[in-house]
């Protein structure tokens, strides 16, 4: 039987080089999970204080921001009867923890394919495992940090609410956004090395422009009509809609609304209707699909382009 008489038709599908995904979802998951777990072990078991270090960073940031913005700059000058600023501390901590997840996972993914060059060049495995294991690793941290947030909230006097059940959904939407960005950034980095500093700057911008420190009612007021209480308002109410079209803003604000304080407006309330939520949700889906597409397209050639 020479190569010429090989029954090509009966061979099935030829292999096409490395792919982003494989045919075996179980293997994909085991691989992603085990890499993430090993990285996690590396990070915490190596140092004596272990997990505490992971917690110290958001807590320290929280303390600084909390002291500065509530005690010194006094941004929360709520007028009497406005309860949207209640438990600002818990709102702030929750936002910081969610944002930490966002920035840790996306910044960590930028270089990830290059950092795993040896694997990519020498072993055949679904390439998507690399960025997704980083997202998963950050999710482990997020889970632990969220426990701290809820303990803090309960201590601060937040009563358990039925809307706490929304938590998995909020985290899931954030995870989809982060996964999309991870795939996008890690494949772009192969071709554009300056993605890293660019993304750092964008991260900073997002930190200050999303409702982490800022409370959404303050934004609404600033863009809203001039009143006696807010004489310097811009009077362009649709800017608040633009502000709330940022998926990150929606996620953080929904967390604040549903987990901590119902008095702070939900994103749907700011946007005016539930239908308007389709814009940020569409952006999340769009980012994910685009990230997947780009990663999938570059995956077969990663090994030779590094």
């Amino acid at each position: 039987m020479s190569a010429g008489t090989v029954p090509y038709e009966s061979l099935g599908r030829p292999i096409r080089g490395p792919r982003a995904l494989n045919d075996d979802p179980a293997r994909f998951w085991h691989l992603t999970f085990n890499i993430a777990v090993n990285q996690w072990k590396l990070r915490f078991f190596g140092s004596a204080l272990g997990y505490l270090w992971q917690l110290v960073r958001p807590l320290l940031l929280f303390t600084v921001l909390y002291v500065f913005f509530t005690k010194i700059a006094n941004v929360n000058g709520a007028h009497p009867g406005d309860h949207s600023y209640d438990n600002y501390g818990a709102q702030l901590l929750g936002s910081i923890v969610l944002f930490t997840f966002f920035s840790e996972a996306t910044m960590g993914s930028v270089r990830c394919v290059l950092d795993n060059e040896a694997l990519v060049r020498k072993i055949q495995f679904p390439r998507m495992v690399i960025p997704l294991s980083i997202v998963l690793l950050s999710m482990f941290n997020l889970a632990l940090n969220l426990v701290v947030v809820f303990v803090f909230a309960l201590l601060a006097g937040v009563r358990p609410m039925l809307t706490w059940l929304e938590l998995p959904l909020i985290v899931a939407v954030l995870a989809v956004l982060v996964a999309g960005l991870s795939m996008l950034l890690s494949s772009l980095f192969i071709y554009f090395r300056d993605i890293q500093p660019i993304w750092e700057v964008i991260n900073q911008i997002l930190f200050y422009s999303s409702p982490v420190i800022i409370a959404v009612p303050a934004v609404v007021k600033a863009f809203g009509p001039k009143t006696a209480l807010s004489p310097r308002a811009l009077d362009v109410p649709w800017l608040a809609h633009v502000y709330m079209s940022n998926p990150l803003a929606v996620i953080l604000q929904q967390f604040r609304h549903a987990m901590i304080n119902h008095a702070t407006p939900s994103p749907a309330a700011v946007l005016g209707s539930d239908v308007m939520l389709l814009i940020p949700i569409g952006i999340v889906i769009g980012v994910f699909v685009f990230g997947f597409y780009v990663f999938n397209r570059t995956a077969p050639y990663v090994a030779e382009n590094l």
Binding site: Y8, R13, P18, H30, K41, R121, K122, I123, D194
Partner: protein
């Protein structure tokens, strides 16, 4: 094309059909967005490098198949294409679970203990976590590292590291093994152990693809082999024949004029390059060195994409034996700024009636004068020519 073994049942384990692989090598790589934005018009020029051209073969189930060729002939690239690490033009089919021995210990993390590494590596190579955990004990036993299993890998000696990596790779229980020249590492006893394992796998009916430039190993293990030359398939079949073709070396009779030619394709622009050739004998001593420096110091400007042939002709006075020419191309100057070096890729044999034992056989005029009073007879005896 010779038949693959008769006892094959069903479909072949690997089929390659008209497989080609080209690499686009950018001449000047743009690595940042800034460069692209600032110079949107300047398209990166690429040099297309054909690593593999139109390779077709089939490997039967249970066959030990060799891929041979010199350095740079594309054999490792072909293995990576089969392994699915590179995308290819053409089609490759593969059946069964694959284990690749392209480099041992890839993906090992030096900060983790043996256990975590073994399990993670097993999963990477295609095991389920349960299987990987189950096999852990036999992996550690085979590697003879039971007492060091809790040690982080960074504290392992390189020998221990390789042993561990090798045991992981063979425990994966693949149907199809792709082996690159990993046997170059490790000491002789470890190499023997590797070969023993491969032999055992061959006998148990696994399909093995083995890349090597060692024609001896090819003969000892392979059922069939494929010979590559500059990315093209020159011969497929009997490993003995592949070995002979691979070692083909021209025989040059002593005393004639001979010429060594090097064809160079310039990928970048070079001004006044210096080309030199070093002819090494079997003891790796350069017995002859020639260069363009003396006669063509200003060899001119070579554009990117241009080709040039450098010829070195000389009267062959070399003593009989095997010689290895090394061609060296350097930038103008000291000659140390090497652009490219072509070495060990081919050799030639000088033949002569007899070997006298010198390095060169320069024509020597031997005269014997005798008599009571020979002219020059007052020379000290030590300077007399031995006859």
């Amino acid at each position: 094309m010779p038949a693959i073994p008769r006892d094959t049942k069903g479909l072949p384990a690997i089929v390659a059909r008209e497989v080609s692989k080209t690499f686009r090598v950018p001449q000047e790589r743009k690595h940042t967005l800034k460069e692209r934005v600032l110079h949107p018009r300047s398209r990166t020029r690429h040099q297309v490098f054909h690593a593999l051209n139109d390779i077709s073969f089939a490997v039967a189930e249970g066959e030990f198949f060799g891929i041979a060729g010199r350095n740079g002939s594309g054999k490792s690239t072909l293995l990576k294409c089969i392994a699915g690490i590179y995308g290819v033009e053409g089609e490759i089919w593969r059946r069964g679970r694959v284990s690749t021995f392209i480099e041992l210990g890839v993906g090992f993390n030096a900060d983790l203990a043996a256990r975590d590494n073994v399990i993670l590596n097993g999963i990477m190579l295609g095991l389920s976590p349960r299987e990987a955990r189950k096999r852990y004990d036999s992996v550690i036993e085979f590697a003879e590292l039971k007492e060091f299993e809790d040690l982080k890998l960074k504290n392992y000696s390189s020998g221990m590291y390789v042993r561990l990596a090798f045991s992981v790779a063979i425990q994966v229980d693949a149907d199809l093994l792709l082996i690159d020249e990993i046997l170059a590492v490790g000491d002789a006893s470890f190499q023997q152990k590797c070969f023993d394992v491969f032999n055992r796998m061959r006998d148990s009916g696994k399909t093995i693809v083995f890349v090597t430039h060692d024609m001896g190993a090819l003969n000892r293990f392979c059922h069939r082999a494929l010979l590559l030359e500059r990315g093209s398939q020159v011969y497929i079949g009997d490993p003995q024949e592949v070995g002979d073709q691979g070692q083909r070396q021209p025989a040059v009779p002593q005393g004639r004029r001979m010429t060594l030619r090097a064809r160079v394709s310039f990928m970048v622009e070079v001004e006044d390059p210096q080309a030199s050739v070093y002819v090494h004998n079997e003891e790796h001593k350069a017995v002859l060195v020639a260069s363009t420096v003396l006669e063509h110091e200003h060899s001119g400007r070579f554009r990117s994409g241009e080709q040039a042939v450098f010829s070195f002709s000389f009267d062959n006075v070399l003593a009989p034996g095997r010689y290895n020419p090394v061609f060296n191309l350097a930038h103008r100057g000291s000659g140390l700024d090497v652009i490219d070096r072509f070495e060990g890729a081919f050799s030639f044999v000088v033949t002569a009636q007899q070997a006298l034992g010198g390095i060169v056989d320069v024509p020597v005029e031997v005269v014997v004068e005798r008599g009571e009073s020979v002219p020059g007879g007052d020379l000290p005896p030590s300077l007399e020519l031995p006859v």
